[in-house]
């Protein structure tokens, strides 16, 4: 799949922002006043910034409000609802913390749940697609949620929790990669099943419909950089997990913590790029490509 920068930005930043909001909602840290303001500002900057970035890949962003109508069937529509609900609830809760020094625990808990639900709905947009076998697994929501929680803990300064969650997220990432590598073969979809020509013999794509590329080949068949996938996986794992874990085990300083956050962010970017670039859509079979 084409790794559109707007979508990579969106899933990375929003995931991190909603992860931080979840921890803030749980009162970790339970700071008030200006400190709380800074935490909430960062969380909203990431979450809202990511959501805004996602509208850049829409053909008609001016009609975006229509996306709230189909929550009964569409995960994208559910994501719209849940993200707005999370931002509203956490906004109210944050206002209490910043301006009144109040910790409305039930509201915070609800906000935290909604924040994680937002990440879940985002992941379900990809998980639901049977056409992309690498995404079509329960491991995808686990991947998104563990990433969001680990990044959130890191940003919230919950060092002990962050250590554990970073290790869990790394394990989820590893499992997701291992499963993903055989997913297309396991799905059973081949050119033979795509054309129904299997009973006659072995089909091979002979001529594409047109000599040039089209929307489908540009959007679904992305092979650039796949050759370097193994190397990029290593880079992602080191930046997103190994580096922060090492930095967190050193004596604490704000500089090191900031470095850990930046490393994690960069690593998640690389991982998300791979999430798209390595994903193969079954329509590629019709074009003799994957």
């Amino acid at each position: 799949m084409h790794p559109a920068p707007s979508v990579i930005l969106f899933t990375t930043l929003s995931g991190l922002g909603f992860g931080l909001l979840a921890f803030l909602g749980l009162g970790m840290p339970g700071s008030t006043g200006w400190v709380a303001f800074a935490f909430f500002a960062i969380a909203y900057g990431l979450a809202v910034g990511g959501l805004l970035a996602s509208t850049f890949h829409l053909g008609h962003p001016e009609r975006a409000l229509k996306a709230f109508t189909q929550w009964r069937s569409s995960w994208l529509s559910r994501e719209a609802w849940v993200s707005v609900a999370a931002l509203l609830v956490m906004g109210l809760y944050g206002a209490g913390r910043v301006f009144l020094g109040a910790h409305w625990a039930p509201l915070g808990l609800l906000g935290a749940a909604l924040s994680l639900a937002t990440v879940l709905t985002t992941s379900m947009i990809y998980t639901q697609l049977k056409t992309v076998p690498r995404w079509n697994t329960a491991l995808t929501p686990i991947l998104f949620l563990t990433f969001s929680l680990a990044g959130g803990a890191l940003l919230a300064g919950q060092i002990d929790i962050a250590r554990v969650l970073l290790a869990v997220a790394a394990a989820a990432q590893l499992a997701w990669w291992v499963r993903g590598d055989g997913a297309f073969e396991k799905s059973g979809t081949t050119l033979a099943s795509a054309t129904g020509l299997g009973p006659i013999g072995t089909p091979r794509a002979f001529e594409p419909p047109h000599t040039g590329p089209n929307y489908l080949t540009r959007e679904m068949i992305f092979v650039v950089g796949r050759a370097h996938a193994k190397l990029l996986r290593l880079v992602a794992a080191i930046l997103a997990f190994a580096a922060p874990l090492v930095l967190l085990s050193l004596p604490f300083s704000h500089g090191l913590a900031a470095l850990a956050v930046l490393g994690h962010l960069a690593g998640v970017f690389v991982s998300r790029w791979l999430f798209f670039a390595e994903a193969e859509h079954v329509v590629g079979l019709y074009y003799g490509k994957r």
Binding site: H60, K130, E207, V282
Partner: protein
């Protein structure tokens, strides 16, 4: 509404005969022509006369080579447009309600005024039947020529999809696949019509008729063949020497060597 109807009154769709399709792409052209001039946004082209042309099509013809276990390979031309799936994943993922399946005839359509151009439906379609128009930024797909089949302004013989009307080899058939007595249903039953990617559970309405088995070549092609043996012989004498000498330079030889 992107929720799928429990059932549709009719299942209008196409039956495509892979045995007779000659790969002329006439249906591609007529589809593009009709759908550029009629329902919805035109099908745009980018850089049409330049070095890197591309454009939006609702119907494309692929060609596949099939190698049987024994005997020569076969070339199959393979037109592909929306299959108007009963369990259309493209409709349910749509957040705006722009994509929907009609209750009255099962046609899957896009209401372009509601489409935000998120492209998710194209990701959900296994068949590559949806293309985002690069100029209009809305999702385009086969409409089953909904503006022809019910169009009283057209002569009756034209009230079929443009691709069906145009096909010079009669490889495309249109009808109600929900009615077991319809011509198309009978054709599917008689010829063993099949679904594409049945394992994905989309339950396509459109069916494909597999190519019929080919005749074998188990005897002389022609009784005259022995009298038509090739007469080319190796050149001798001076010409032979010249041929060998030139062959040393360009690596080619005359005759069967």
């Amino acid at each position: 509404m992107t929720l799928l109807p429990d059932r549709t009154e009719k299942k209008l769709g196409l039956v495509i005969d892979l045995d007779t399709c000659v790969g002329c792409h006439a249906c591609v052209v007529s589809c593009k022509g009709w759908n550029t001039e009629n329902y919805g946004a035109p099908l745009s082209d980018q850089d049409p006369y330049g070095a890197d042309p591309s454009g939006t099509f609702l119907n494309r013809v692929h060609s596949y080579e099939v190698q049987p276990e024994t005997g020569p390979a076969q070339l199959i031309h393979f037109p592909k447009s929306c299959l108007h799936c009963d369990d259309a994943p493209c409709a349910t993922v749509c957040p705006t309600g722009a994509s929907y399946k009609r209750v009255e005839d099962g046609i899957v359509l896009v209401n372009e005024a509601d489409c935000i151009g998120c492209g998710l439906c194209a990701w959900a379609c296994p068949y590559g039947a949806r293309e985002m128009d690069a100029a209009e930024k809305v999702m385009k797909k086969c409409t089953l020529c909904v503006d022809r089949i019910y169009n009283d302004n057209l002569p009756e013989e034209d009230r079929v999809p443009a691709c069906v009307r145009t096909c010079p080899s009669g490889a495309r058939h249109f009808g109600d696949l929900g009615d077991p007595d319809s011509d198309v249903s009978q054709l599917v039953a008689a010829r063993g019509g099949m679904d594409l990617m049945p394992e994905l559970g989309t339950k396509p309405v459109n069916k494909y008729l597999p190519p019929r088995p080919k005749d074998g070549l188990d005897r002389d092609i022609d009784v005259l063949a022995p009298w038509l043996a090739p007469v080319a012989e190796d050149p001798k004498g001076f010409l032979g020497w010249l041929d060998r000498a030139l062959g040393k330079i360009d690596g080619k030889t005359t005759g069967g060597r």
